[in-house]
Amino acid sequence: MSALQPFRLPSGGLIDRSRMLRFRFDGDEATGFAGDTLASALLAKGTRIVGRSFKYHRPRGILSAGSEEPNALVELRSDARREPNTKATTIELYEGLEARSQNRWPSLKFDVLAINSLLSPIFVAGFYYKTFMWPSSCWEKLYEPIIRRAAGLGRAAGASDPDRYEHAYAFCDVLVIGAGPAGLAAALVAACSGARVIICDEDFCFGGRLLAERRDMGGTPGHVWTRRVVDELTSLPDVRVMPRTTVFGVYDGGTYGALERVADHLPAPLPYQPRQRLWKIVAKRAVLATGAIERPIVFGGNDRPGIMLASAIRSYINRFAVVPGGRIAIFTNTDDGWHTAFDLAKVGIKVPAIIDSRPAVSPQLAAQASRATRILTGSQVVATKGRNALRAVTVRTPHGTKEIEVDSLGVSGGWDPAVHLCCHRGGRPVWNDAIAAFVPGSLSKGLMVAGAANGMLTLAACLFEGVRVGAEATQAAGFTAKSIDLPKAEDEASAATPLWHVTRSKGKVTRSKGKAFVDFQNDVTADDVALAEREGFRSVEHLKRYTTLGMATDQGKTANVNGLAIVAASTGRSVAETGTTIFRPPYTPVAIGALAGPHRGEGFRPARLTPSHAWAEEQNAVFVETGLWLRAQYFPRTGDRDWLEIVNREVRSVRSAVGFCDVSTLGKIDVQGPDAALFLDRLYINNWSTLAVGKARYGAMLREDGFVMDDGTTSRLSDDRFFMTTTTANAAKVFQHMEFCHQVLWPELDVQFVSVTDQWAQYSVAGPRARDVLAGIVDARFDISNEAFPYLAAAELAALGGIPARVFRISFSGELAYEIAVPARFGDALARTLMEVGARFGIAPYGTETLGVMRIEKGHVAGNEIDGRTTARDLGLAKLMSTRKDYIGRIMSNRSALLDPDRPTLTGFKPADKSARLRAGAHFVPVDGPASADNDQGVMTSVAFSPTLGHWIGLGLLTSGPERIGGRVRAVDPVRNNDVEVEICAPCFVDPQGERLRG
């Protein structure tokens, strides 16, 4: 044993001694070998305390050798890559690894908050509920911050994660979850039978317990057999072998969630490598071969560093060639615990005693024990000693109490099948008396269980069941299962009699002293469980939530069954009668980064770009997100002081000369077929059958409930073809609505429609010189004079020299305006040509802000007004509502409440003091009344500074607004402390007669 790794055995183990790795724990340098976990390397170094507990800040060591670990949680890596609550038992050692203990201050060995342990009488079950009830005002400012500081484990990085996370999909016939003996056998059968197989294991090495046990399989060690099987699986087509991959959840339709830790075993991911990959695996059949988890025994002082699961000790000896101590006793109620003593003896470690709670064990078993080991049957550990780590155990034997000096204790309380994934779709585990543990109950479709996960606790049974279930899954997936050769393995001794809790007996001497922990991670003791039961929390679901038993990040993998058994005992019921809580995804914690995958930052959601995007970027446009679209918001120029100055300039340029704006984002739908007009008649409140070919019309449509859904301009291109537009925001919703109406309501209509939003680049060209500009764009043979092409004309023609185009004479700004559409590939060219052709007319591009200002000046409603709560009448669109036909929403729009003349209705507003600023969201109240909810008369929906008028203007919904024009109200915005008297006016501030747009 070297000085650096004093607890490393001189030979053996599945580690690569030729590759020494340096790492740091709490700043101290140490070494380990390739193939180590952080836990095994720490044990080799002789580290006993690895962390402090959650509530009492008690020193804790390493309990297990797997993902069930409740104690040894560390902060891994540093800076932006810092990852709290990482289990030392699953961290694969790498060169330069840095980890720190958690939940301690100022140091691991001396922790100030360990005083909590002395205060433990007040930190009992339900402590938060009892203590922080009153006064409630203290909760937010006092209690919660203190609790948050004191509790919790580890610290988040507090910086953006520098690594990439990927999502991926996989499909297979048979998914095997767990690569121990049962899983390997099942996978081999399925793969050899030609099925597509995926086999996952959370460990970086396949083999499960075969890596941890000295078992002979047909003349070779288990790990050698494992390697052969893995080699064979890898050589077969359509078999995916996935180490470092945890199947964490079972979902509907044979879907399984898995997390592959692609680069967690490296200091940093390699170039182009993600740190982790979240897999969605769809499997025809899945074989659950997740093994079993050893259960500790609940006794006083059972959390002292040095106390470990007996099976974990075997893992450390046999797989990692590490011993956790020099004098190791075993406390067991199972034959399995004895094997740890035998394995320790084989590597020359003293086992002073095997303490077995059973009155007797089989002579064959006892005969295998070393002569130096005292065998104490009918005995129990009742207390432990040691300051920061175990020094001695107190044992109650039938002949009195003894103290035995030890530095470690292996505890074996029986095995709990890892049934977790069986519960994810609602299955409830059932109690099995033979092994005194829960086994899977009803299984969700497609899921089968094999091996220790199904309560088969011997190697021979695991192999046999693995083959059998693997064959069954293979057949069920549609293949003929082939037989495979399996090595012989003998059934080892596995008898057990459960011992749930070493209780205090009535005698004075024989008490279990000190806290007896059930849930190590959440610091829940046997007393807490008993107290909760006394306080009436008898249902296991209540007990769980009251005590927080099983609610830590380990979901009580080593705690739940002991907790249930203690409740059962104190209520005089069996465990089966007491029932069990169930497990939910994820099996082990999954980083949020992995769930987000590529969908963060710019990739959070896809950005849709308009055909003029690159051109707009060249023009220094500032972009705004509208739904998924990025639209030019405004176009700054050098010297602009602020956005308002820019927008004022853009508005003036349109109103005095000409401007253009990319409106490609509007939803565009090509509606065709003999019944196209009839279809539109039923969708919109106004009439379409009467629209002449070559004409455009404004329309509004309602939802079934009578409220306005959307509006837009639709043009008739031919008898049976319309070009419909929707608002940008509602494009998808309107299309979906149309599909519903056609497929479900009126399948008899002969109408076809398809989105052409992306097909056409469309620009609004607006302003007194718009026609002059357009004349230079549209091919000369087309006459767009006012006479030939009046307001609301629509035409298919050619532009830019023979390119198919569509021109609509419609106006959102109130100016003489056209919308011109060309195939999207010419969108960029059209923007550039508009600039070129328009230069001598003073053209300037404008963005969505200017679009908004001009529509408010003109009194057009938009999303602020069509907010799902307004009717056509509210918006001043009553005239459009046809009385000669039926349409969606007609009946419901006539509900009496919607006909109430007092409903807030679209009205315009100007500040009485022209220098005052208006605020959208302000509520209207009478000029001389209090600003109270009782006096509320409506709301300001849109405001803008009108450069045309030189003051702020607003649109709003005011009770009986149109009848009150000329009057005044106050617009009160308590949020921004704004209270402005406003004049009520018609909702149109510019060219109310519409002379400009017809000019």
């Binding site: 990439r164 990927e166 999502h167 991926a168 999909y169 996989a170 499909f171 597509r196 359509d238 170039p271 182009y272 490598q273 969605k280 590529p598 969908h599 710019e602 990739g603 959601r605 896809p606 950005a607 849709r608 770009l609 308009t610 055909p611 690159a614 679209w629 090509d670 065709q672 077929g673 003999p674 008899e748 209509l749 002969d750 076809q752 429609f753 398809v754 989105s755 052409v756 939003t757 992306d758 097909q759 056409w760 680049a761 230079g776 000369a780 830019l800 020299g801 390119i803 198919p804 195939p823 999207a824 590939r825 010419f826 969108g827 960029d828 060219a829 550039r832 040509t833 070129e836 052709v837």
Partner: protein, 204 residues
């Protein structure tokens, strides 16, 4: 009037710049190129005209309209199933407007036709690691046991709608994405292919 300089801009212009992306060791695992030479039209059957349309397509174009998610091709023309009674007609070369006119003429009164040539951007994806790269976003089983040449699928890739089909067993796929989503899709594609090394060719 002065002659206007009107240069069409393909959907992946400025994105699919030819060259090597991602891992540079070994041959590229993924081959990418834009299909800028395709014209598309939506073909939507008129009410009750299903059988007549099938007969007409067979008579005029010599191919059977697929009724499942498949692509039927003959020469430079293909019909890809796009939903019940709905196909995406694809042709190499030719402009969208003429393609729409041609189909409107040949399938008169049996289907509504809508030019989609500028609505879809198409990326050709091939290479020995194409399936591995695509698995990072395509929720469809592309294993050759399940999905072969002539198969098509309508699905989403990271919130982006795609219409994809397989051309040959190499394998070669074509992914059609709505034009406005091209940059987002390309970003996903290049990121996903990076670890296998990607080679981008100029558009065809």
């Amino acid at each position: 009037m002065a002659k206007l300089d009107v240069t069409p801009c393909s959907a992946l212009q400025g994105l699919a710049i030819p060259g090597r992306y991602g891992a540079a060791n070994g041959g590229p695992g993924v081959l990418l190129s834009e299909r800028a030479d395709l014209a598309f039209a939506a073909v939507m059957v008129r009410k009750g005209a299903g059988e007549a349309l099938t007969r007409r397509v067979r008579a005029v174009f010599g191919l059977d309209l697929p009724t499942t998610s498949r692509r039927a091709a003959r020469g430079s023309l293909a019909f890809v199933w796009a939903g019940p009674g709905h196909w995406l007609a694809v042709t190499e070369g030719g402009d969208g407007s003429s393609f729409e006119k041609l189909l409107r003429h040949d399938l008169s009164n049996l289907a509504s036709i809508s030019d989609q040539s500028d609505g879809w951007a198409v990326v050709r994806i091939g290479g020995v690691r194409a399936r591995d790269a695509l698995a990072k976003g395509v929720p469809v089983d592309l294993n050759p046991r399940v999905f072969t040449a002539g198969d098509a699928a309508i699905t989403t890739v990271g919130h982006i709608g795609v219409h994809l089909w397989q051309l040959d067993e190499a394998p070669t796929y074509e992914f059609a994405v709505l034009r406005s989503y091209t940059a987002a899709f390309w970003r996903w594609l290049i990121d996903s292919a990076a670890e296998f090394g990607a080679a981008v060719k100029g558009p065809s």
